[in-house]
Protein backbone atom coordinates (compact mmCIF):
# COMPACT_ATOMS: atom_id res chain seq x y z
CA UNK A 1 0.00 0.00 0.00
CA UNK A 2 1.46 3.40 -0.93
CA UNK A 3 2.17 5.52 2.07
CA UNK A 4 -0.20 8.49 1.68
CA UNK A 5 -3.27 6.28 1.51
CA UNK A 6 -3.02 4.96 5.02
CA UNK A 7 -3.83 8.13 6.95
CA UNK A 8 -6.67 8.80 4.54
CA UNK A 9 -8.21 5.38 5.09
CA UNK A 10 -7.84 5.82 8.80
CA UNK A 11 -9.55 9.18 8.59
CA UNK A 12 -12.42 7.84 6.52
CA UNK A 13 -12.85 4.90 8.84
CA UNK A 14 -12.91 7.05 11.94
CA UNK A 15 -15.42 9.36 10.31
CA UNK A 16 -17.70 6.41 9.58
CA UNK A 17 -17.45 5.08 13.11
CA UNK A 18 -18.00 8.55 14.52
CA UNK A 19 -21.18 9.14 12.57
CA UNK A 20 -22.52 5.69 13.28
CA UNK A 21 -22.10 5.88 17.02
CA UNK A 22 -22.76 9.48 17.98
CA UNK A 23 -23.51 12.42 15.76
CA UNK A 24 -26.85 12.38 14.01
CA UNK A 25 -28.23 14.95 11.64
CA UNK A 26 -31.71 16.43 11.53
CA UNK A 27 -33.27 18.42 8.72
CA UNK A 28 -35.14 21.34 10.16
CA UNK A 29 -37.59 23.61 8.36
CA UNK A 30 -37.57 27.00 10.03
CA UNK A 31 -39.78 30.05 9.58
CA UNK A 32 -37.61 32.84 8.21
CA UNK A 33 -38.07 35.12 11.23
CA UNK A 34 -36.21 32.57 13.39
CA UNK A 35 -33.13 32.49 11.11
CA UNK A 36 -30.77 34.21 13.54
CA UNK A 37 -31.72 32.29 16.71
CA UNK A 38 -31.71 28.87 14.99
CA UNK A 39 -28.13 29.42 13.84
CA UNK A 40 -27.07 30.13 17.40
CA UNK A 41 -29.08 27.15 18.67
CA UNK A 42 -27.57 24.84 16.04
CA UNK A 43 -24.11 25.88 17.22
CA UNK A 44 -25.00 25.09 20.84
CA UNK A 45 -26.48 21.74 19.81
CA UNK A 46 -23.39 20.75 17.89
CA UNK A 47 -21.09 21.80 20.70
CA UNK A 48 -22.98 20.00 23.46
CA UNK A 49 -24.11 16.84 21.65
CA UNK A 50 -22.23 16.60 18.35
CA UNK A 51 -25.56 16.46 16.50
CA UNK A 52 -25.89 18.72 13.50
CA UNK A 53 -28.84 20.49 11.91
CA UNK A 54 -29.53 21.06 8.25
CA UNK A 55 -31.61 24.21 8.15
CA UNK A 56 -34.10 25.23 5.46
CA UNK A 57 -35.57 28.71 5.81
CA UNK A 58 -38.81 29.95 4.27
CA UNK A 59 -42.24 31.28 4.93
CA UNK A 60 -44.37 28.98 7.07
CA UNK A 61 -46.88 28.47 4.25
CA UNK A 62 -44.17 27.52 1.81
CA UNK A 63 -42.58 25.07 4.23
CA UNK A 64 -46.02 23.55 4.88
CA UNK A 65 -46.57 23.03 1.16
CA UNK A 66 -43.15 21.43 0.85
CA UNK A 67 -43.82 19.05 3.73
CA UNK A 68 -47.21 18.12 2.28
CA UNK A 69 -45.41 17.28 -0.92
CA UNK A 70 -42.89 15.01 0.72
CA UNK A 71 -40.01 17.29 1.73
CA UNK A 72 -37.79 15.26 4.08
CA UNK A 73 -37.88 17.46 7.20
CA UNK A 74 -37.61 16.10 10.73
CA UNK A 75 -38.80 19.16 12.63
CA UNK A 76 -40.78 22.26 11.67
CA UNK A 77 -40.38 25.51 13.56
CA UNK A 78 -43.40 27.40 12.26
CA UNK A 79 -44.34 31.03 12.71
CA UNK A 80 -47.88 30.14 13.77
CA UNK A 81 -49.90 27.51 15.62
CA UNK A 82 -52.21 26.70 12.72
CA UNK A 83 -49.62 25.00 10.53
CA UNK A 84 -48.25 22.50 13.08
CA UNK A 85 -51.86 21.71 13.99
CA UNK A 86 -52.71 21.09 10.35
CA UNK A 87 -49.69 18.81 9.94
CA UNK A 88 -50.85 16.78 12.91
CA UNK A 89 -54.30 16.50 11.36
CA UNK A 90 -52.76 15.52 8.03
CA UNK A 91 -51.02 12.65 9.82
CA UNK A 92 -47.61 14.02 8.91
CA UNK A 93 -46.52 14.95 12.43
CA UNK A 94 -45.94 12.91 15.57
CA UNK A 95 -49.11 13.32 17.66
CA UNK A 96 -48.63 15.38 20.80
CA UNK A 97 -45.23 16.71 19.76
CA UNK A 98 -46.40 20.32 19.36
CA UNK A 99 -45.11 23.02 21.69
CA UNK A 100 -44.66 26.79 21.64
CA UNK A 101 -41.00 27.72 21.34
CA UNK A 102 -41.41 31.47 20.93
CA UNK A 103 -43.95 34.27 20.69
CA UNK A 104 -43.01 36.69 17.94
CA UNK A 105 -43.29 40.44 17.93
CA UNK A 106 -43.95 42.64 14.95
CA UNK A 107 -41.80 45.69 14.38
CA UNK A 108 -41.82 48.54 11.91
CA UNK A 109 -38.21 48.96 10.85
CA UNK A 110 -36.11 51.12 8.58
CA UNK A 111 -32.44 50.83 7.67
CA UNK A 112 -32.35 54.63 8.04
CA UNK A 113 -31.62 55.58 11.65
CA UNK A 114 -33.88 58.64 11.57
CA UNK A 115 -36.84 57.28 9.61
CA UNK A 116 -39.02 55.49 12.16
CA UNK A 117 -40.23 57.44 15.22
CA UNK A 118 -41.16 56.00 18.60
CA UNK A 119 -44.92 56.14 17.85
CA UNK A 120 -44.94 54.81 14.32
CA UNK A 121 -46.24 58.14 13.01
CA UNK A 122 -44.07 57.59 9.92
CA UNK A 123 -46.89 55.39 8.57
CA UNK A 124 -49.02 58.52 8.20
CA UNK A 125 -46.32 60.67 6.63
CA UNK A 126 -46.56 61.64 2.98
CA UNK A 127 -42.80 61.13 2.63
CA UNK A 128 -43.19 57.38 2.98
CA UNK A 129 -42.28 55.79 -0.32
CA UNK A 130 -42.48 52.02 -0.05
CA UNK A 131 -43.71 49.87 2.79
CA UNK A 132 -42.65 46.22 2.72
CA UNK A 133 -44.54 43.40 4.37
CA UNK A 134 -44.55 39.64 3.99
CA UNK A 135 -47.15 37.86 1.85
CA UNK A 136 -50.03 37.57 4.34
CA UNK A 137 -51.33 34.34 2.78
CA UNK A 138 -48.21 32.40 3.70
CA UNK A 139 -46.32 34.47 6.29
CA UNK A 140 -47.92 35.02 9.73
CA UNK A 141 -45.91 38.22 10.24
CA UNK A 142 -47.44 39.53 7.02
CA UNK A 143 -50.93 38.66 8.30
CA UNK A 144 -50.12 40.47 11.56
CA UNK A 145 -48.96 43.51 9.58
CA UNK A 146 -52.29 43.58 7.73
CA UNK A 147 -54.16 43.42 11.05
CA UNK A 148 -52.11 46.28 12.45
CA UNK A 149 -52.66 48.48 9.39
CA UNK A 150 -56.39 47.75 9.57
CA UNK A 151 -56.60 48.57 13.27
CA UNK A 152 -54.73 51.83 12.70
CA UNK A 153 -57.21 52.68 9.94
CA UNK A 154 -54.36 53.08 7.47
CA UNK A 155 -54.95 50.08 5.19
CA UNK A 156 -56.45 52.08 2.31
CA UNK A 157 -53.95 54.95 2.56
CA UNK A 158 -50.97 52.59 2.59
CA UNK A 159 -52.17 50.20 -0.12
CA UNK A 160 -50.44 51.99 -3.04
CA UNK A 161 -47.12 51.94 -1.17
CA UNK A 162 -47.06 48.24 -0.34
CA UNK A 163 -44.52 45.78 -1.66
CA UNK A 164 -44.71 42.14 -0.76
CA UNK A 165 -41.86 39.80 0.18
CA UNK A 166 -42.31 36.06 -0.25
CA UNK A 167 -41.29 35.51 3.34
CA UNK A 168 -40.27 37.72 6.23
CA UNK A 169 -36.69 37.07 5.10
CA UNK A 170 -37.19 38.58 1.66
CA UNK A 171 -39.21 41.40 3.19
CA UNK A 172 -36.23 42.20 5.39
CA UNK A 173 -33.93 42.26 2.34
CA UNK A 174 -36.17 44.84 0.66
CA UNK A 175 -35.84 47.16 3.66
CA UNK A 176 -32.20 46.35 4.34
CA UNK A 177 -31.15 47.34 0.81
CA UNK A 178 -33.15 50.57 1.19
CA UNK A 179 -35.49 49.73 -1.67
CA UNK A 180 -38.39 49.90 0.75
CA UNK A 181 -37.85 52.75 3.19
CA UNK A 182 -39.76 50.97 5.96
CA UNK A 183 -41.17 47.51 6.47
CA UNK A 184 -43.02 45.27 8.89
CA UNK A 185 -40.52 42.63 9.95
CA UNK A 186 -39.91 40.43 12.96
CA UNK A 187 -38.32 42.01 16.02
CA UNK A 188 -35.89 39.07 16.05
CA UNK A 189 -34.45 40.18 12.71
CA UNK A 190 -33.37 43.59 13.95
CA UNK A 191 -32.20 42.74 17.45
CA UNK A 192 -28.92 41.28 18.56
CA UNK A 193 -28.21 40.66 22.22
CA UNK A 194 -31.42 42.54 23.03
CA UNK A 195 -30.31 45.69 21.20
CA UNK A 196 -31.28 47.22 17.87
CA UNK A 197 -28.53 46.31 15.39
CA UNK A 198 -28.98 49.31 13.09
CA UNK A 199 -31.59 51.65 11.65
CA UNK A 200 -34.71 52.72 13.52
CA UNK A 201 -37.78 50.86 14.72
CA UNK A 202 -41.18 51.02 16.30
CA UNK A 203 -42.25 47.91 18.16
CA UNK A 204 -45.87 47.56 17.06
CA UNK A 205 -48.11 47.43 20.18
CA UNK A 206 -49.47 43.93 20.72
CA UNK A 207 -53.00 45.32 20.95
CA UNK A 208 -52.88 45.90 17.18
CA UNK A 209 -52.49 42.25 16.14
CA UNK A 210 -53.20 38.83 17.55
CA UNK A 211 -50.17 37.25 19.23
CA UNK A 212 -47.79 35.47 16.87
CA UNK A 213 -47.43 32.24 18.80
CA UNK A 214 -44.86 30.09 17.08
CA UNK A 215 -45.20 26.34 17.48
CA UNK A 216 -42.75 23.58 16.71
CA UNK A 217 -43.75 20.10 15.70
CA UNK A 218 -41.81 16.87 15.20
CA UNK A 219 -42.61 15.22 11.89
CA UNK A 220 -43.23 11.53 11.28
CA UNK A 221 -39.96 11.14 9.42
CA UNK A 222 -38.00 11.99 12.57
CA UNK A 223 -38.84 8.69 14.31
CA UNK A 224 -35.61 7.52 15.91
CA UNK A 225 -33.65 10.60 14.89
CA UNK A 226 -31.57 11.54 17.92
CA UNK A 227 -30.65 14.96 16.60
CA UNK A 228 -34.34 15.89 16.30
CA UNK A 229 -35.03 14.70 19.85
CA UNK A 230 -32.05 16.63 21.15
CA UNK A 231 -33.17 19.81 19.37
CA UNK A 232 -36.67 19.60 20.88
CA UNK A 233 -35.19 19.12 24.34
CA UNK A 234 -32.77 21.97 23.85
CA UNK A 235 -35.50 24.36 22.67
CA UNK A 236 -37.32 23.83 25.97
CA UNK A 237 -34.26 24.27 28.18
CA UNK A 238 -34.04 27.47 30.29
CA UNK A 239 -30.70 28.55 28.79
CA UNK A 240 -31.93 28.38 25.23
CA UNK A 241 -35.19 30.08 26.20
CA UNK A 242 -33.11 32.97 27.56
CA UNK A 243 -31.23 33.04 24.27
CA UNK A 244 -34.52 33.13 22.32
CA UNK A 245 -35.76 35.99 24.54
CA UNK A 246 -32.60 37.97 23.76
CA UNK A 247 -33.80 38.11 20.15
CA UNK A 248 -36.94 39.90 21.26
CA UNK A 249 -39.32 36.95 21.52
CA UNK A 250 -41.61 36.13 24.38
CA UNK A 251 -42.04 32.49 25.31
Amino acid sequence: MPKPVRPLTALLFSALVHSATQAAEAQVAVAANFAEPIKAIAAVLEKTTGHTLKITLGSTGKLYAQIRNGAPFDVLLAADTKTPEALEKDGLAQPGSRFTYATGKLVLWSADASKVDAQGEVLKSAGLRKLAYAAPKVAPYGAAAVQAMDKLGLAAALAPKLVQGESIGQTFSFVYTGNADVGFVALSQVLEGGKLKSGSMWVVPQTLYSPIRQDAVVLKKAAGNEAAQALVKLLQSPNIQDLIRSYGYGI
Partner: protein, 227 residues
Protein backbone atom coordinates in the same frame (compact mmCIF):
# COMPACT_ATOMS: atom_id res chain seq x y z
CA UNK B 1 -61.76 26.81 -17.59
CA UNK B 2 -62.03 30.38 -16.32
CA UNK B 3 -58.99 32.34 -15.25
CA UNK B 4 -59.42 34.76 -12.36
CA UNK B 5 -59.33 38.51 -12.90
CA UNK B 6 -55.93 38.69 -11.24
CA UNK B 7 -54.67 35.93 -13.56
CA UNK B 8 -55.74 37.94 -16.59
CA UNK B 9 -54.10 41.02 -15.11
CA UNK B 10 -50.86 39.06 -14.67
CA UNK B 11 -51.02 37.77 -18.26
CA UNK B 12 -51.60 41.28 -19.64
CA UNK B 13 -48.74 42.66 -17.56
CA UNK B 14 -46.42 39.85 -18.70
CA UNK B 15 -47.20 40.52 -22.35
CA UNK B 16 -46.46 44.22 -21.85
CA UNK B 17 -43.11 43.54 -20.17
CA UNK B 18 -42.11 40.99 -22.81
CA UNK B 19 -43.12 43.17 -25.76
CA UNK B 20 -41.31 46.22 -24.45
CA UNK B 21 -38.24 44.17 -23.58
CA UNK B 22 -38.14 42.64 -27.05
CA UNK B 23 -38.41 46.04 -28.75
CA UNK B 24 -35.65 47.51 -26.59
CA UNK B 25 -33.47 44.44 -27.17
CA UNK B 26 -33.95 44.69 -30.94
CA UNK B 27 -32.81 48.32 -30.76
CA UNK B 28 -29.80 47.68 -28.50
CA UNK B 29 -29.01 44.10 -29.43
CA UNK B 30 -28.79 44.46 -33.21
CA UNK B 31 -26.07 47.16 -33.26
CA UNK B 32 -24.29 45.35 -30.44
CA UNK B 33 -24.32 42.10 -32.42
CA UNK B 34 -23.11 43.96 -35.51
CA UNK B 35 -20.25 45.51 -33.58
CA UNK B 36 -19.30 42.09 -32.14
CA UNK B 37 -19.38 40.53 -35.61
CA UNK B 38 -17.20 43.17 -37.29
CA UNK B 39 -14.82 44.55 -34.70
CA UNK B 40 -11.16 43.60 -34.31
CA UNK B 41 -10.96 45.35 -30.94
CA UNK B 42 -9.53 43.42 -28.00
CA UNK B 43 -12.80 44.29 -26.25
CA UNK B 44 -14.67 41.84 -28.47
CA UNK B 45 -14.01 38.74 -26.37
CA UNK B 46 -14.64 40.25 -22.91
CA UNK B 47 -17.78 42.06 -24.10
CA UNK B 48 -19.08 38.96 -25.88
CA UNK B 49 -18.53 37.03 -22.65
CA UNK B 50 -20.35 39.68 -20.64
CA UNK B 51 -23.34 39.49 -22.98
CA UNK B 52 -23.47 35.69 -22.58
CA UNK B 53 -23.32 35.80 -18.76
CA UNK B 54 -27.10 35.79 -18.07
CA UNK B 55 -27.30 32.35 -19.74
CA UNK B 56 -25.22 30.78 -17.00
CA UNK B 57 -25.85 33.12 -14.06
CA UNK B 58 -28.52 32.06 -11.59
CA UNK B 59 -31.42 34.55 -11.64
CA UNK B 60 -30.86 35.00 -7.92
CA UNK B 61 -27.40 36.46 -8.63
CA UNK B 62 -28.77 38.80 -11.27
CA UNK B 63 -31.75 39.70 -9.08
CA UNK B 64 -29.61 40.35 -6.03
CA UNK B 65 -27.15 42.62 -7.86
CA UNK B 66 -29.98 44.49 -9.58
CA UNK B 67 -31.72 44.99 -6.23
CA UNK B 68 -28.54 46.37 -4.72
CA UNK B 69 -27.50 48.44 -7.76
CA UNK B 70 -30.93 49.97 -8.41
CA UNK B 71 -31.67 50.69 -4.72
CA UNK B 72 -30.98 53.98 -2.90
CA UNK B 73 -27.46 52.86 -1.99
CA UNK B 74 -26.50 51.59 -5.45
CA UNK B 75 -24.95 53.47 -8.39
CA UNK B 76 -27.96 52.99 -10.69
CA UNK B 77 -30.26 54.10 -7.88
CA UNK B 78 -28.22 57.27 -7.34
CA UNK B 79 -28.35 57.97 -11.04
CA UNK B 80 -32.09 57.38 -11.51
CA UNK B 81 -32.87 59.41 -8.38
CA UNK B 82 -30.71 62.33 -9.56
CA UNK B 83 -32.75 62.39 -12.77
CA UNK B 84 -35.93 62.51 -10.72
CA UNK B 85 -36.94 59.01 -11.80
CA UNK B 86 -37.04 57.52 -8.31
CA UNK B 87 -35.83 53.97 -7.76
CA UNK B 88 -36.44 51.10 -10.12
CA UNK B 89 -37.19 48.07 -7.91
CA UNK B 90 -40.92 47.34 -7.50
CA UNK B 91 -41.75 49.34 -10.65
CA UNK B 92 -42.77 48.39 -14.15
CA UNK B 93 -39.74 50.13 -15.76
CA UNK B 94 -37.50 48.35 -13.25
CA UNK B 95 -38.95 45.05 -14.39
CA UNK B 96 -38.25 45.94 -18.02
CA UNK B 97 -34.64 46.94 -17.23
CA UNK B 98 -34.11 43.65 -15.38
CA UNK B 99 -35.66 41.72 -18.28
CA UNK B 100 -33.40 43.44 -20.81
CA UNK B 101 -30.34 42.20 -18.90
CA UNK B 102 -31.88 38.80 -18.42
CA UNK B 103 -32.79 38.25 -22.08
CA UNK B 104 -29.86 40.07 -23.72
CA UNK B 105 -27.97 36.95 -24.92
CA UNK B 106 -31.15 35.49 -26.39
CA UNK B 107 -31.32 38.44 -28.76
CA UNK B 108 -27.64 39.11 -29.40
CA UNK B 109 -26.40 35.57 -30.00
CA UNK B 110 -28.70 34.50 -32.89
CA UNK B 111 -28.26 37.87 -34.59
CA UNK B 112 -24.50 37.75 -34.08
CA UNK B 113 -24.34 34.22 -35.53
CA UNK B 114 -26.37 35.24 -38.57
CA UNK B 115 -24.10 38.23 -39.17
CA UNK B 116 -20.94 36.13 -38.94
CA UNK B 117 -22.43 33.47 -41.22
CA UNK B 118 -23.16 36.14 -43.82
CA UNK B 119 -19.42 36.73 -44.29
CA UNK B 120 -17.68 39.75 -45.81
CA UNK B 121 -18.66 39.14 -49.44
CA UNK B 122 -22.04 40.97 -49.49
CA UNK B 123 -20.37 43.94 -47.81
CA UNK B 124 -17.65 44.06 -50.44
CA UNK B 125 -20.21 43.93 -53.21
CA UNK B 126 -22.21 46.72 -51.58
CA UNK B 127 -19.04 48.78 -51.16
CA UNK B 128 -18.07 48.31 -54.83
CA UNK B 129 -21.53 49.65 -55.71
CA UNK B 130 -20.72 52.68 -53.53
CA UNK B 131 -23.43 52.02 -50.97
CA UNK B 132 -22.92 53.98 -47.75
CA UNK B 133 -22.30 52.05 -44.55
CA UNK B 134 -25.72 52.89 -43.16
CA UNK B 135 -27.39 51.95 -46.43
CA UNK B 136 -25.47 48.66 -46.51
CA UNK B 137 -26.59 47.90 -42.98
CA UNK B 138 -30.29 48.50 -43.68
CA UNK B 139 -30.53 47.23 -47.28
CA UNK B 140 -28.07 44.32 -47.15
CA UNK B 141 -27.18 43.21 -43.64
CA UNK B 142 -30.59 43.31 -41.97
CA UNK B 143 -32.49 41.52 -44.79
CA UNK B 144 -29.79 38.83 -45.04
CA UNK B 145 -29.86 38.33 -41.27
CA UNK B 146 -33.62 38.21 -40.95
CA UNK B 147 -33.78 34.59 -39.70
CA UNK B 148 -31.38 35.52 -36.90
CA UNK B 149 -33.44 38.58 -36.02
CA UNK B 150 -36.69 36.61 -35.98
CA UNK B 151 -35.13 33.89 -33.82
CA UNK B 152 -33.68 36.51 -31.48
CA UNK B 153 -36.99 38.33 -31.13
CA UNK B 154 -39.02 35.18 -30.47
CA UNK B 155 -36.45 33.82 -28.01
CA UNK B 156 -36.23 37.15 -26.14
CA UNK B 157 -39.99 37.43 -25.95
CA UNK B 158 -40.51 33.84 -24.79
CA UNK B 159 -37.62 33.98 -22.36
CA UNK B 160 -38.94 37.20 -20.80
CA UNK B 161 -42.43 35.73 -20.48
CA UNK B 162 -40.86 32.78 -18.65
CA UNK B 163 -38.78 34.95 -16.34
CA UNK B 164 -39.21 34.09 -12.68
CA UNK B 165 -36.29 34.41 -10.30
CA UNK B 166 -35.26 37.93 -11.23
CA UNK B 167 -38.83 39.24 -11.02
CA UNK B 168 -39.31 37.55 -7.70
CA UNK B 169 -36.23 39.27 -6.32
CA UNK B 170 -36.70 42.81 -7.63
CA UNK B 171 -40.44 42.88 -8.25
CA UNK B 172 -42.07 43.05 -4.84
CA UNK B 173 -45.04 41.06 -6.10
CA UNK B 174 -47.36 44.02 -6.67
CA UNK B 175 -50.56 43.13 -8.58
CA UNK B 176 -50.78 44.96 -11.90
CA UNK B 177 -47.29 46.42 -11.58
CA UNK B 178 -44.79 43.63 -11.07
CA UNK B 179 -46.79 40.45 -10.49
CA UNK B 180 -46.16 38.61 -13.74
CA UNK B 181 -47.57 35.20 -14.67
CA UNK B 182 -44.69 33.15 -13.27
CA UNK B 183 -44.95 34.88 -9.89
CA UNK B 184 -48.73 34.56 -9.93
CA UNK B 185 -48.38 30.79 -10.44
CA UNK B 186 -45.83 30.65 -7.62
CA UNK B 187 -48.30 32.57 -5.44
CA UNK B 188 -51.09 30.10 -6.22
CA UNK B 189 -48.84 27.14 -5.37
CA UNK B 190 -47.63 28.74 -2.13
CA UNK B 191 -51.20 29.38 -1.08
CA UNK B 192 -52.10 25.83 -2.12
CA UNK B 193 -54.60 27.06 -4.70
CA UNK B 194 -53.61 24.19 -6.95
CA UNK B 195 -56.61 24.47 -9.26
CA UNK B 196 -55.73 28.08 -10.11
CA UNK B 197 -52.07 27.16 -10.44
CA UNK B 198 -52.91 24.35 -12.86
CA UNK B 199 -55.02 26.53 -15.12
CA UNK B 200 -52.49 29.32 -15.41
CA UNK B 201 -49.56 26.91 -15.73
CA UNK B 202 -51.37 25.14 -18.58
CA UNK B 203 -51.76 28.45 -20.40
CA UNK B 204 -48.04 29.08 -19.95
CA UNK B 205 -47.15 25.61 -21.22
CA UNK B 206 -49.33 26.04 -24.28
CA UNK B 207 -47.85 29.44 -25.00
CA UNK B 208 -44.24 28.24 -24.75
CA UNK B 209 -44.99 25.27 -27.00
CA UNK B 210 -46.61 27.45 -29.66
CA UNK B 211 -43.67 29.90 -29.55
CA UNK B 212 -41.05 27.24 -30.11
CA UNK B 213 -43.18 25.45 -32.70
CA UNK B 214 -43.57 28.67 -34.68
CA UNK B 215 -39.83 29.19 -34.53
CA UNK B 216 -39.11 25.66 -35.79
CA UNK B 217 -41.60 26.00 -38.66
CA UNK B 218 -40.14 29.35 -39.64
CA UNK B 219 -36.59 27.98 -39.66
CA UNK B 220 -37.58 24.93 -41.71
CA UNK B 221 -39.32 27.04 -44.28
CA UNK B 222 -36.44 29.44 -44.46
CA UNK B 223 -33.89 26.65 -44.91
CA UNK B 224 -35.97 25.10 -47.69
CA UNK B 225 -36.21 28.44 -49.42
CA UNK B 226 -32.49 29.03 -49.06
CA UNK B 227 -31.64 25.55 -50.38
Amino acid sequence: MPLTASDLQAIWLTLQVATLTTVILALIGTPLAWWLARTRSWLKTPLGTLVALPIVLPPSVLGFYLLVAMGPNGPVGHWTASWGLGYLPFTFPGLVVASVFYSLPFMVQPVHNAMEAMGARPLEVAASLRASRLDTFFSVVLPLCRPGLVTGAIMSFAHTVGEFGVVLMVGGNIPGVTRVVSVQIYDHVEAMEYGDAHRLAAVMLGFSFVCLLALQLYNHRHKRRAA
